[in-house]
C-alpha cells in the first residue's frame, strides 16, 4: 500500500496536466448532468415510509380506499375579543370561498358562506345555503349565527364552538397540481390578512412549506458554509493556497456528489438538505491535514527547486496518505452505517455523504499533490506563525496538564462521563412536527390555531369493516360506531369526531323536525338505510359506496410520540373489546397516527443498529489498517465518551431524540474518529522514530494536534452554519454536532495520550503490516523543546 501511495504521488506530480484534465472532465460531466436532468425534491413524508411495513400498508390501503385523510383548511381567526360574526369578517369568507372555487384544481369548497344547512320541520326537509347574502344588521347577523351554530355539521367543524374562528375546507381534484394550487391559495389569502389572522393548514401546505424551506436552506447554507471554511482556512494557514486548495477539493467533491444524485435520479429530501454543508465541512479535513503536514515539511527545507518541491509533496503524502485514507474510510463507514435505517431518505443520505467523502479523499490524494508540487514553497513560515499563536500556547498548556497527571486526567474524564451518563435514562424519543419545523414556523402556527379552535390538526382514523354489503346501515353496527365516537370525543387528545353514525344521527334528527331527541340511531334498518338518500356528500369520505366499510375520523391535537403511542394502544384496546369478535364488524386503526407509532419502535431500533454498525466498522477499519486491536479500541474510546456525554447533555437539556438528532450517533462516530486516528498515527510515527512517550506526545500535539485543532474548529464553525436552517430540528442538530466535534477533539487530546503516557502498547513501535515500512530516521527534534 505504501508503494501504491508513493507511486500515485509521483505520477500526479509528474502529470499535473492530466490530473487536472481528469478532474475537469469529470466535473464537466457532473455539471452537465445537473443542468440537464436537474435535482428533484421529495417532501412527502409518507413516501419515506417503507411500503412493506404492515402499518404503512394499512395507511396506504386506507388512503387508496377512502382518499386522503389529511385536513386542508383555511382558518380565519377573529381579532382578539371578537367573533367572526361581524359583517366585515363574513364578507371575507364569502369573497374567499367564491374565489377559491375558481382556482383550477379545486374540486369542492365548503365554508361558512357556501355551506348548506339542513333542517327539518313537521312537513318538510329544508336544504339551503347558510348565507344567501352577507348579513349586515345585528339582527341578520344573529339570525345567521343561530342558523349555522345550530347545525352540528358546521359547529365545531367549520365554526369554532366559541365563534372566534371559521374554517374553509378545500378539497382538491385528484388530478390537481397540489403545490401550484397551494401557491395560488397563499397568494389569494394574503391581501385578506388583518385584522383577522388567516392560516393555511394541510398536508399539501406542509409539503410545499418543506420544499420551500429546503430550497432556501440549500441556497443560503451552502454559500454560508463555504464562506466560513474560507475564513477558518485563512486564519489557520494565512495563505491563498491554504484556502483555495482545500476549498477547491470540497467544492468539486460536492459537485460530483450532487451530480451523482442527479445522475441516478435520487431526489433531495429534508434529510439530505444538509448534505452539501456536511460534505463541505467534513471534506475540508483531508486538505487541512495535508496542508498542515505540507507546511511542516516545507519549513524544514531551505531551497525552492522543483526537486525540493516534489520531495516536500512526496514526504507529505507518504506521511498523510494513511491517515487521510483511514479517516475517510472510517467517516464513510460511519455514514454508510445509516444503511441500517429503514427510512430510505436516511439510507440515501448515508450513501451519498459517504460517496462525497470518498470523492474528497480521491481529490485530496491526487489534485492537491498535483497542484502543490507545481507551486513554490511557502516563503512564510507557518511554523513561526503557529508558535506565536494562542492555539500553540493553548495546546502546550493542555499538554502539560495531561502529561503531569495522566491518571488524574483519566479519573476526571471518567467522572465527567459518569455525571452525564446517569442523565441518559431521562432521554426521550419524541418527534413532533412543531419541533421539526420550529414553533414559529407559519405552518406550525397554523396547526396551533386549528387545535385551539377546531380540536386538532391531525387525524386519527379507525376503519370499520362489516364484511358485507350495506353492513354499515345495520342499526346495531351504527350504535357501536356511535359509542366509539362518544368514547373518542371524551378523550383529551381528541377534538371532534366524524363518522357515518354522526351522519345518520343528524339526518334522523332532521327528518323528525330537527328535534334533538331524535339525534339517535333509528332502530328500523329500513329507515337507517333510507336516510342516506338525503345525504348530499359523496361516498368514499366516511363510507364506501356499498356500505361495507367505513371510517371514523377523529381530529387529534399535536402530542409527542410517547403520548401518541399510549393513545393508539388504548384505542386499539377499546376496538378489540367492542368490535373484532367472531361475526362482529372488524375495527382497526389505519391512519398516519398508527403508522407513525408503529414505526417509532423500528426507527429507534434501526438507529441503534446504525450506531453499533458504525462503531464496529470504524473499530475494525482502524484495527486492520493499524494492525492492532488495541489501536482500534483506543480510537473508539473518545467516541464512547462523546456519544454518552452528548446524550447526557440532551437528556439534561430536555432535547429529545427525534428523526433529525437520532442520526447524530452515526455521524459522530464517522467524523469524530478522525481526530483519534490522526493523533494515534502521528504518536506512533514519533514512537517508531525512537521518541519517548512524553516526547511523542508533545510533538504530536504540535503537529497532528495542530491539524486536529484546525479541523475541529473548521467543523464546529461549519456545522454551526446549520443554526441558520429553516428547520428547527436541523438547528438543534447543528448545535449538537458542534458539541460533538468539541468533545471528540478534546477527548483525543485527553484520554488517548493519558493512556499512552501511562502504558505504551506494543503496536506503537511496530509498523502496520499493511501500510507502513519501518521508520529508520532518528528521533525528530522536538519543535518546542521537551515538556517541562
Amino acid at each position: 500500500m505504501h508503494r501504491f501511495i508513493r507511486g500515485l504521488t509521483l505520477w500526479v506530480e509528474t502529470h499535473p496536466g492530466l490530473t487536472l484534465l481528469g478532474v475537469g472532465v469529470l466535473s464537466a460531466f457532473f455539471l452537465g448532468v445537473l443542468l440537464t436532468k436537474g435535482l428533484t425534491f421529495e417532501t412527502d413524508f409518507k413516501k419515506f415510509l417503507p411500503e412493506d411495513e404492515p402499518a404503512v400498508r394499512r395507511l396506504n390501503e386506507a388512503e387508496a380506499t377512502f382518499g386522503s385523510q389529511d385536513l386542508f383548511l383555511i382558518a380565519i381567526e377573529a381579532p382578539e375579543g371578537e367573533t367572526i360574526f361581524r359583517p366585515e369578517t363574513l364578507q371575507k369568507f364569502k369573497e374567499l370561498e367564491e374565489k377559491l372555487e375558481e382556482i383550477v384544481g379545486v374540486d369542492e369548497v365548503r365554508g361558512p358562506a357556501t355551506a348548506y344547512v339542513i333542517y327539518g320541520t313537521q312537513d318538510s326537509v329544508v336544504v339551503e345555503r347558510a348565507m344567501k347574502r352577507v348579513p349586515q344588521t345585528p339582527e341578520e347577523v344573529e339570525q345567521y349565527r343561530r342558523r349555522v351554530m345550530g347545525d352540528r355539521t358546521l359547529r365545531g367543524w367549520l365554526l369554532s364552538e366559541d365563534g372566534r374562528a371559521g374554517a374553509i375546507s378545500v378539497q382538491l381534484e385528484v388530478w390537481a397540481d397540489a403545490p401550484r394550487v397551494v401557491g395560488q391559495i397563499e397568494e389569494l389569502i394574503r391581501p385578506y390578512q388583518n385584522p383577522e389572522r388567516i392560516y393555511l393548514v394541510g398536508e399539501p401546505v406542509l409539503r410545499s412549506a418543506t420544499a420551500l424551506s429546503m430550497m432556501r436552506d440549500l441556497r443560503v447554507l451552502t454559500p454560508f458554509v463555504v464562506l466560513v471554511m474560507v475564513l477558518v482556512l485563512f486564519l489557520s494557514f494565512r495563505s491563498v493556497r491554504g484556502v483555495v486548495l482545500p476549498v477547491s477539493v470540497v467544492l468539486v467533491s460536492t459537485l460530483w456528489t450532487v451530480g451523482s444524485m442527479a445522475l441516478f435520479g435520487v431526489p433531495m429530501t429534508p434529510f439530505a438538505v444538509v448534505l452539501p454543508v456536511m460534505l463541505i465541512a467534513i471534506g475540508a479535513a483531508d486538505g487541512i491535514h495535508i496542508l498542515n503536514k505540507y507546511y511542516e515539511e516545507a519549513a524544514e527545507r531551505s531551497d525552492d527547486s522543483p526537486q525540493t518541491r516534489r520531495a516536500v509533496v512526496l514526504a507529505t503524502m507518504e506521511e498523510m496518505a494513511v491517515p487521510v485514507i483511514l479517516t475517510s474510510l472510517t467517516t464513510a463507514a460511519g455514514f454508510l452505517a445509516l444503511m441500517a435505517s429503514f427510512l430510505w431518505p436516511q439510507r440515501q443520505f448515508g450513501v451519498f455523504t459517504a460517496l462525497g467523502i470518498l470523492y474528497a479523499m480521491v481529490l485530496s490524494l491526487t489534485l492537491l499533490p498535483a497542484l502543490l508540487a507545481r507551486l513554490p514553497l511557502p516563503k512564510w513560515k507557518h511554523k513561526d506563525y503557529y508558535e506565536r499563536s494562542r492555539l500553540a500556547k493553548g495546546l502546550s498548556g493542555w499538554g502539560r496538564a495531561v502529561a503531569r497527571k495522566p491518571a488524574l486526567t483519566l479519573i476526571v474524564s471518567g467522572l465527567v462521563l459518569f455525571v452525564f451518563s446517569v442523565g441518559i435514562p431521562r432521554l426521550e424519543v419524541e418527534t413532533r412536527a412543531d419541533e421539526f419545523l420550529g414553533q414559529q414556523h407559519p405552518v406550525v402556527q397554523a396547526m396551533y390555531a386549528i387545535e385551539r379552535h377546531f380540536g386538532g390538526a391531525y387525524h386519527l382514523a379507525v376503519e370499520i369493516d362489516t364484511g358485507r354489503r350495506d353492513g354499515l346501515k345495520d342499526p346495531k353496527v351504527l350504535q357501536k360506531i356511535a359509542a366509539l365516537d362518544d368514547w373518542l370525543e371524551a378523550r383529551p387528545e381528541i377534538g371532534r369526531v366524524a363518522s357515518i353514525a354522526d351522519v345518520v344521527r343528524q339526518l334522523n334528527e332532521t327528518l323528525h323536525a330537527s328535534d334533538p331527541a331524535y339525534y339517535t340511531i333509528p332502530e328500523d334498518p329500513r329507515l337507517a338505510a333510507q336516510l342516506f338518500l338525503l345525504y348530499g356528500g359523496k361516498p368514499g369520505q366516511l363510507f364506501l359506496g356499498d356500505f361495507r366499510k367505513g371510517e371514523v375520523l377523529a381530529r387529534r391535537v399535536n402530542i409527542g410520540s410517547t403520548q401518541m403511542a399510549r393513545l393508539v394502544r388504548e384505542v386499539q384496546e377499546y376496538l378489540d373489546k367492542n368490535f373484532n369478535g367472531p361475526g362482529e364488524p372488524q375495527a382497526r386503526l389505519v391512519g398516519p397516527t398508527q403508522a407513525y407509532v408503529a414505526l417509532l419502535a423500528r426507527i429507534i431500533h434501526s438507529q441503534i443498529t446504525s450506531l453499533l454498525a458504525s462503531f464496529v466498522a470504524a473499530g475494525v477499519i482502524v484495527t486492520l489498517l493499524m494492525g492492532s486491536a488495541i489501536a482500534g479500541l483506543l480510537a473508539l474510546l473518545p467516541l464512547v465518551l462523546t456519544i454518552l456525554i452528548e446524550f447526557g447533555v440532551m437528556a439534561y437539556a430536555g432535547l429529545p431524540l427525534d428523526m433529525g438528532t437520532i442520526m447524530l450517533g452515526s455521524i459522530a462516530i464517522g467524523v469524530g474518529i478522525d481526530y483519534a486516528i490522526h493523533f494515534l498515527h502521528r504518536f506512533r510515527r514519533e514512537a517508531q522514530r525512537g521518541a519517548s512517550a512524553p516526547q511523542a506526545f508533545q510533538t504530536t500535539l504540535h503537529t497532528a494536534g495542530r491539524g486536529i485543532a484546525y479541523n475541529a474548529i473548521s467543523l464546529m464553525l461549519g456545522f454551526a452554519v446549520l443554526l441558520a436552517s429553516s428547520f428547527q430540528s436541523l438547528v438543534t442538530f447543528g448545535l449538537l454536532l458542534v458539541l460533538t466535534m468539541l468533545i471528540s477533539s478534546l477527548s483525543s487530546f485527553t484520554v488517548i495520550p493519558a493512556i499512552l503516557l501511562l502504558r505504551q502498547p506494543r503496536f506503537l513501535t511496530q509498523p502496520s503490516p499493511i501500510w507502513e515500512p519501518a521508520i529508520q530516521e532518528p528521533v525528530t527534534a522536538n519543535p518546542r523543546g521537551p515538556l517541562p
Partner: protein, 294 residues
C-alpha cells in the same frame, strides 16, 4: 335541482322525445354549423307529446373506491297541459324498497317545481325544499345534477364547432351498426356554470340524437365520457336503452339501463301524484311488481 334531474330522466328514459324528423331539419345546402347541430340535438330532447308513461330503470354505479351499487326504480310519468308529474318508486335494494320521490313541474314557468319524499321506514311524507348546487352528484352516481338536469341540451352551455363526420358503432333498432355522426367540438360559454370547459360530442347525422360525449376538465384532460347505446323505437320516437357516464380519471361509472317502458292508456290518474296519497301507493295497481309489497 331536482326539477332538471327529473325532467331529463323523464325525457331520456321514459321515452319522451321527438318524433323522427320532427323539427330536426336543416334548411341550408351545406352541412350545419356546430351551433346548429347542438340546437337541433337539443330540440330532439325537448319536443314532447302529452301522455302517461311507466318505465323500469336500473342504475348501476361503480364508485371510485371500486365498490358497486345497483338501484332499480319504477318511473311513473305524466305530462299534460298543467305540467309534468313524476313519481319514482324504489324497487331495489331491499332496504330502500318503498321509498318514493315525487315531483310536480308546472307548465307555468313562474311557478316552482315541488318535490316530496316518502320514506317507508319513517312512514311520513316530507316536502324537499332544496337549493343544493346543481353540480352536486345525483344519488352518488356520475351524473351531476346539472348534467343530468340539462340532459344533452348542450346548446345552452356550449358553443359548437363542426369538426367533421365519423362513423360510430352503436346498437340501433336491434342491430349492431355504424351510424354516421357529426363530430362537434364544444367550448363553454362565458356565462355557463358547468364543470367542463371543453369537450367533443357526436350527434347522429340523420336523427340528431346525441350518441357520445367526451368532456375535459380545467386542466385540459379528458375526465368524463357519456355514451348512449341500444337505441330502440318507442311510441314513434327513437330512444336509448343504455346510457353510460364514466369518469376516466377516478374510474367511476354509472350505467342507466331502461329495462322496460310502456305507454299507459288510459292516462295515469292525478291522484297518483298527490303527496297525500304516497303512503298508500301500491305499484302493483299499475302492473309493476314490487318486492316490498306484502
Amino acid at each position: 335541482m331536482m326539477r332538471k334531474i327529473l325532467l331529463v330522466l323523464l325525457t331520456l328514459t321514459v321515452g319522451w322525445g321527438a318524433l323522427p324528423g320532427a323539427g330536426g331539419s336543416v334548411a341550408q345546402d351545406g352541412p350545419p354549423t356546430g351551433d346548429e347541430i347542438l340546437a337541433l340535438a337539443a330540440e330532439e330532447s325537448s319536443f314532447v307529446p302529452e301522455g302517461s308513461r311507466i318505465s323500469i330503470i336500473e342504475f348501476d354505479i361503480l364508485f371510485p373506491d371500486g365498490t358497486t351499487q345497483t338501484r332499480t326504480f319504477a318511473f311513473f310519468g305524466k305530462r299534460d297541459e298543467t305540467g309534468e308529474k313524476l313519481l319514482i318508486y324504489f324497487l331495489e335494494p331491499e332496504l330502500e324498497c318503498g321509498t318514493i320521490f315525487l315531483s310536480h313541474d308546472p307548465a307555468d314557468p313562474d311557478e316552482d317545481t315541488r318535490l316530496w319524499l316518502f320514506l317507508s321506514g319513517l312512514g311520513q311524507v316530507k316536502e324537499l325544499v332544496s337549493e343544493e348546487d346543481r353540480n352536486a352528484s345525483f344519488a352518488g352516481s356520475n351524473l351531476q345534477n346539472d348534467q343530468v338536469g340539462g340532459g344533452f341540451d348542450l346548446s345552452e352551455d356550449y358553443r359548437g364547432e363542426l369538426l367533421g363526420e365519423e362513423p360510430l358503432a352503436v346498437r340501433w333498432l336491434g342491430e349492431e351498426t355504424q351510424r354516421v355522426a357529426y363530430k362537434v367540438a364544444l367550448t363553454r360559454r362565458p356565462e355557463a356554470e358547468v364543470d367542463f370547459p371543453t369537450g367533443t360530442v357526436w350527434v347522429d347525422k340523420e336523427e340528431f340524437l346525441t350518441l357520445k360525449g367526451d368532456f375535459d376538465n380545467e386542466a385540459g384532460e379528458l375526465e368524463q365520457t357519456i355514451t348512449l347505446d341500444d337505441f330502440v323505437e318507442f311510441a314513434g320516437d327513437i330512444v336509448p336503452n343504455v346510457i353510460v357516464v364514466e369518469n376516466v380519471l377516478d374510474g367511476s361509472r354509472t350505467t342507466v339501463l331502461t329495462l322496460e317502458r310502456r305507454v299507459v292508456e288510459p292516462e295515469l290518474p292525478d291522484s297518483l301524484f298527490d303527496p297525500d296519497n304516497l303512503k298508500d301507493f301500491n305499484p302493483e295497481d299499475y302492473g309493476v311488481d314490487s318486492p316490498c309489497v306484502p
